[in-house]
């Protein structure tokens, strides 16, 4: 019982994931600031933002559905945290069974649907537009993402992430076999996290803050937590599926190697967010269906031929 609690609350659970999301948000904002010749926030900024949001007055727009508005952030936070449990960190994950990759993928897309629901049930044109856009975007990036992420599973011949890791330690990182899959997975991750080139649902200059326009106080704090932890878990997932894990003796070395891989991924994401301009929703849909999906299908067929 005590061990379960430890897994749930401390190590791959809430506290560890929150600290990772804290570090992720700080590094992301600091890196973006340094790209833009700015000083950037101090290290404690993410915690300060959270405390500020939690102490802010929690407004509820008239006519909005209170129950749904409160339930959505909590549900998506639970979904993301449970996904965090199954994604191995430095090769270790408390629970692993055949098919946990599918569970993780499903849990990771719950926040996007919750974001759509938040937009639709909340009052106001901007939330409506933001919600509609997030659904449109969901279809154009989710299909290539799922196909790209199922590549490693096919190569390893199993749907359990631990198996995939084990397989990679024998045959070398799957990144070398399917670089295109890795690229598609990254684009899909940027779309899922609504990060900069694809932040169409929450484009500041078009729909103010998308679905979260009417959210304040604790609810908004939860939403920020969800977004950050979703980013952390998404990056862990891609690291495990494409770079795999070979244990290197003492745990300290393990943790530092994993940390370096993680930092490299954050650098990649921040550069992508600083380099590209935001697409229009119809351009993204065109890009998604005309280019990303055929590419991922091609990648899948290559992987299947390679695997057999």
């Amino acid at each position: 019982m005590f061990e379960v609690l430890f897994y749930l609350l401390i190590f791959p659970g809430f506290l560890f994931l929150y600290l990772c999301s804290w570090l992720f948000e700080f590094l992301d904002r600091k890196l973006l600031a340094r790209f833009q010749r700015r000083i950037g926030p101090p290290w404690y900024q993410p915690l300060a933002d959270l405390i500020k949001l939690f102490s802010k007055e929690d407004l509820m727009p008239q006519g909005a559905n209170e129950v749904v508005a409160i339930a959505l952030p909590i549900v998506s936070l639970c979904a993301v945290l449970t996904a965090g449990i199954y994604v191995p960190v430095a090769g270790f994950s408390p629970e692993s069974f055949e098919g946990d990759l599918i569970i993780v993928l499903f849990l990771l897309s719950i926040p996007t649907l919750a974001y759509y629901l938040a937009g639709v049930t909340s009052v106001g044109i901007y939330s409506l537009l933001g919600g509609a856009r997030s659904l449109l975007q969901f279809f154009s990036y989710e299909v290539p993402l799922l196909i790209a992420l199922s590549g490693p599973a096919v190569l390893a011949g199993s749907w359990s992430i631990q198996e995939i890791i084990a397989r990679q330690s024998e045959t070398g990182a799957f990144l070398l076999f399917q670089p295109l899959g890795f690229l598609l997975a990254m684009i899909g991750l940027i779309g899922k996290l609504k990060r900069d080139p694809l932040d169409i649902p929450k484009a500041k200059s078009e729909v103010v803050a998308g679905s979260l326009t009417e959210f304040t106080g604790v609810k908004l704090g939860f939403w920020h937590l969800v977004m950050n932890i979703q980013a952390v878990v998404g990056i862990f997932l891609i690291i495990n599926l494409y770079i795999g894990w070979t244990s290197a003796g003492n745990p300290l070395l393990n943790i530092s190697i994993f940390l370096i891989q993680w930092l490299a991924m954050i650098l990649l994401l921040s550069t992508a967010s600083a380099v590209f301009a935001r697409l229009r929703i119809d351009q993204l849909a065109g890009l998604g269906w005309k280019i990303l999906v055929p590419l991922s299908l091609l990648q899948l067929t290559v992987v299947i031929l390679m695997g057999v």
């Binding site: 537009l129 169409i200 729909v207 600083a274 590209f276 229009r280 119809d282």
Partner: protein, 361 residues
């Protein structure tokens, strides 16, 4: 989701630096049209000007607009000097023209950042506003003020361009020249920017003529009009200006015209600095202006600004009418809103380069 909705881009919106109220009616992502309401920043400058003396009016007129303040005071001073019948020393004319061009560079760089921010490129916004500091430093060294310089007075200018300003200006302008070439490369090659600006909200040349538009938006549709060349104030008739136009008049050509105008203004600044004559920088002007009427036009960063001034022999202007370039640009905006997506609204607004403080006066 195809029923008609109205998107309020109200007085407070991340898109707007200054308050206007724009109601966009759209169905889904297609924009059908927009209605516009102004007047949130209307201070009644024309009425205020009638109860202040000519010298007191200069700081007032400088605060019509934060970005093109120098063009307003220059036009006003030329109008009063025409009524007084005095000619300001050539050195003062060149200094006024120098600051007009520096202000055009500053205004276009500011606009470049705003366009990049609206298209989603925060980094280019930060970089272009970082490079804009170079121009602001030059203006601050010359006049003590980054934006409202207070360098103009009736009869000339108050501060001189000393010998040690020249090297500082030359080196800062050289740095600016490299940065602009960098921006131009980014804007020409970056596929995501081209996707967002090419073919968006085109404006035909005869539509521009019907609305009486002059300035970068008109030049971007092929209308070859530039007040500095066609109806020049003193120093511009002695400088040759090449007017940049672009044929197809969409959001990309407006970007193209404005970026190349920064090059042109940099070149003009160098020409002015070489050709600046020696001599004093201001002439004594009487306080009471003899009765008369005058209309003066000049080229503000956004187009043609028209000043009508009537004096009745006292120290106070009898009537001052200011027509700023953003008014016709705002009139033409609903035409651009008819065939675009909701996501293109920021690009159209940035293309028009709104200066609401000018439009409302």
């Amino acid at each position: 989701m195809k029923e008609k909705i109205t998107i309020p881009i109200g007085p407070q919106h991340p898109l707007l630096k200054e308050p206007i109220s724009l109601r966009i009616d759209a169905s889904g992502e297609e924009v059908l049209g927009g209605t516009l309401r102004l007047g949130y920043v209307h201070r009644g400058i024309e009425k205020l000007a009638e109860s202040r003396t000519y010298t007191q009016n200069i700081p007032l007129i400088e605060r019509i607009c934060g970005i093109c303040s120098h063009v307003h005071t220059t036009t006003f001073c030329y109008a009063v000097e025409a009524l007084l019948g005095i000619e300001i020393p050539p050195r003062a004319q060149y200094i006024r023209a120098l600051l007009c061009e520096l202000e055009r560079i500053h205004s276009h760089l500011l606009w470049l950042g705003v366009l990049a921010k609206h298209v989603g490129l925060e980094t280019v916004f930060m970089h272009s506003w970082h490079d804009r500091e170079l121009v602001l430093d030059i203006m601050e060294e010359l006049s003590g003020g980054r934006v409202s310089h207070g360098i103009n007075q009736i009869g000339g200018v108050r501060f001189d361009v000393d010998a040690e300003h020249h090297p500082m200006m030359a080196d800062k302008m050289q740095k600016l020249h490299e940065r602009i070439t960098q921006f131009m490369q980014i804007f020409e090659r970056e596929p995501s920017i081209k996707a967002r600006t090419h073919g968006v909200a085109p404006l035909s040349a005869d539509l521009i003529r019907q609305y009486g538009l002059a300035g970068p938006v008109a030049r971007a549709s092929g209308v070859d009009v530039d007040m500095r060349r066609d109806d020049p104030l003193p120093p511009y008739d002695r400088l040759d200006i090449s007017v940049i136009t672009h044929p197809d008049g969409d959001a990309w050509s407006r970007t193209y015209v404005r970026i190349y105008e920064i090059y042109e203004s940099l070149l003009l600044c160098e020409k002015i600095l070489q050709a600046i004559p020696e001599g004093n920088i201001s002439v004594r002007a009487r306080r009471k202006v003899p009765a008369g009427e005058v209309v003066v036009r000049s080229e503000a960063p956004r187009g043609e600004v028209v000043y009508y001034l009537r004096s009745n022999g006292t120290e106070y202007p009898a009537r001052l009418k200011i027509r700023t370039p953003t008014l016709p640009a705002l009139a033409i905006m609903p035409m651009q809103l008819a065939q675009i997506h909701v996501a293109d609204i920021p690009v159209v607004l940035a293309g028009v380069d709104l200066c609401i403080a000018c439009a409302d006066r």
